[in-house]
Amino acid sequence: MNAQVEHETKTTRRRPGFIAFSFLLAVTLIAASWIYILFVEEASLFALFSEKNLEHTREFLFSMMGIGVEEPAFFSKESWMNALRLTYETLVMSILAIGFSVIGMVLTVIPASANYADGTLMLAKKWYSRLVYGVIRILYVFSRAVPELIWAMLIIFIFKPGILPGAVALALHNFGILGKLCAEVIEDLDMRPIRSLASSGAGKTQILIYGIIPMVMPKFITYILYRWEVIIRTTIVVGFVGAGGLGQQFKLSMSWFHYTEVTLLLISYFILVVLSDFISEMLRKAVQ
């Protein structure tokens, strides 16, 4: 009795401990970061609003809106067609990207689940499953810790510019994220139906087809669609380094100061994002 009380107070005392530590750490980080930005980097908020800067900003915004521009891109049919083509290209890139990352995820996700590695999922264990589990999990961490853009910067040294390197870069980052999310789905699987299938005489492959896959599929598809939404948003960014689509054109238009074209591209990008959110939501409802 006594021991239990003591144990409880210990845990309750320890819990706020970590939270208090986190709070302190957060405050320190925030203070140090702001001090660094304001005093070491000497970034001045007032300088941002200087006369000269405001003038410059106004000019930029006006030229984006096409005020005082001779032939604003958004009034030209040709520019619209071009933007449409680029939007389509971007869409294809996102589909390739999610497809590649799903292939990578599907090939690795089962051995990457802790319950497969310790033999509870398939009711069988091999000596190397722990090792394989560790290796894949490290790959996942590595893949998702590196941002898409940095993957793209590396990939573009190997592939010629186009939508494929963009798709590969996006896939490399999303592979780790999807892998982690989906492995967790398998780890949270209800084991009772699996054991029941086994007791009805089902073998490994049959358990996979009639047990594991139907149970994880809805969640997998939901995660895949969510990631696709994120990928759509990010396609523009990998385009910056020459990986095709709207992003590549955005970069070119920016460096040629064709700001009305930039506006047009941003409109197309925005429409694509909204549209893909809508489609993804529809599909997610359909699988439920």
Binding site: R15, F18, I19, S22, L25, L29, I30, A32, S33, W34, Y36, I37, E41, A43, L45, A47, L48, N53, H56, T57, F60, L61, E89, V92, I95, L96, I98, G99, V141, F142, A145, V146, P147, L149, I150, M153, L154, F157, I158, F159, K160, G162, I163, L164, M217, I221, R233, I236, V237, V241, F250, M254, L266, Y269, F270, V273, V274, L283, A286, V287
Partner: protein, 262 residues
């Protein structure tokens, strides 16, 4: 036929998605033209230098300061994002006001939050740099806006999902709307709000790292420079630092979330 459709609703959908992917494969011009002529050689070099990152003191020192800069941009950007998100989230949740305009205000604010997050942080960064020139504030604002949008929408949802009983109890004690917020809604939703913010903080590190692309310093900038000079050994050093930073933040946020939830 109808029975077949009944039996395979989800499979048909998956099949359709697979078909879309296969069809997208045809838009790529497969062939030897895909690769740079030296592509294979480059891969080999990159892989080789992966195992021999440059660990000279100068590079390590550079990596540490760049990592700090990346972290600082992420933290300052997140600070602003949280402020934005709390203000906009409270307004978008509609708990502060009543009456006719409520629905209108709610949906227009949610639309604004959606717009903020629809556009990628790097695009925001580029627009800022184009508008106000190269300043750390361009990076900070570029992080603050989309993250403010994401956090704001989630905060609004969390405030809406607060259990109604404690709020009603406060109301019957005669609390004003602002008091309700401070003594009811915030304390009840705080754990969830902080958990989610921590979860996003990890992403903010990555976002901060790529801000370098528009010319702002940090790990991404160093990776960029080293790549331009084809110094792959250095590239990997910086990438390893980035991964380390992300893992540290991930571990912190995971432990904190576990503590907050239980």
């Amino acid at each position: 036929m109808q029975k077949f459709v009944d039996l395979h609703k989800r499979n048909l959908l998956s099949g359709l998605l697979i078909l879309v992917f296969v069809w997208s494969l045809f838009s790529v011009n497969w062939g030897p033209d895909l690769f740079h002529s030296g592509g294979k050689h480059t891969i080999l070099q990159m892989v080789k230098s992966f195992f021999q990152p440059d660990l000279s003191p100068e590079i390590l020192q550079l990596a540490v300061t760049s990592a700090w800069r990346t972290l600082a941009y992420a933290v300052t950007g997140m600070t602003l994002a949280i402020l934005l998100a709390v203000v906009l989230g409270v307004l978008a949740s509609g708990i502060l006001y009543n009456g006719k305009q409520r629905i209108w205000v709610k949906s227009s604010l949610r639309g604004l939050l959606g717009f903020m997050r629809a556009i990628h942080e790097l695009v925001w960064a580029w627009l800022f740099v184009a508008a106000v020139g190269l300043s750390p504030f361009a990076a900070i604002f570029a992080i603050a806006i989309p993250y403010g949008g994401i956090l704001g929408r989630i905060f609004a949802d969390m405030l809406n999902d607060v259990k109604p009983e404690p709020i009603q109890a406060l109301q019957s004690n005669g609390a004003s709307r602002l008091q309700l917020l401070c003594y009811g809604y915030f304390p009840l939703a705080a754990a969830d709000m902080i958990s989610y913010t921590m979860y996003r903080f990890e992403c903010a590190i990555r976002s901060s790292a790529i801000m370098s692309f528009v010319g702002l310093g940090g790990l991404g900038y160093q990776i960029h420079l080293s790549l331009d000079d084809l110094k792959y050994h250095e590239v990997w050093t910086f990438i390893f630092f980035l991964i380390g930073l992300v893992i540290l933040v991930d571990l912190w946020s995971r432990f904190l979330r576990k503590r907050l939830v239980s």
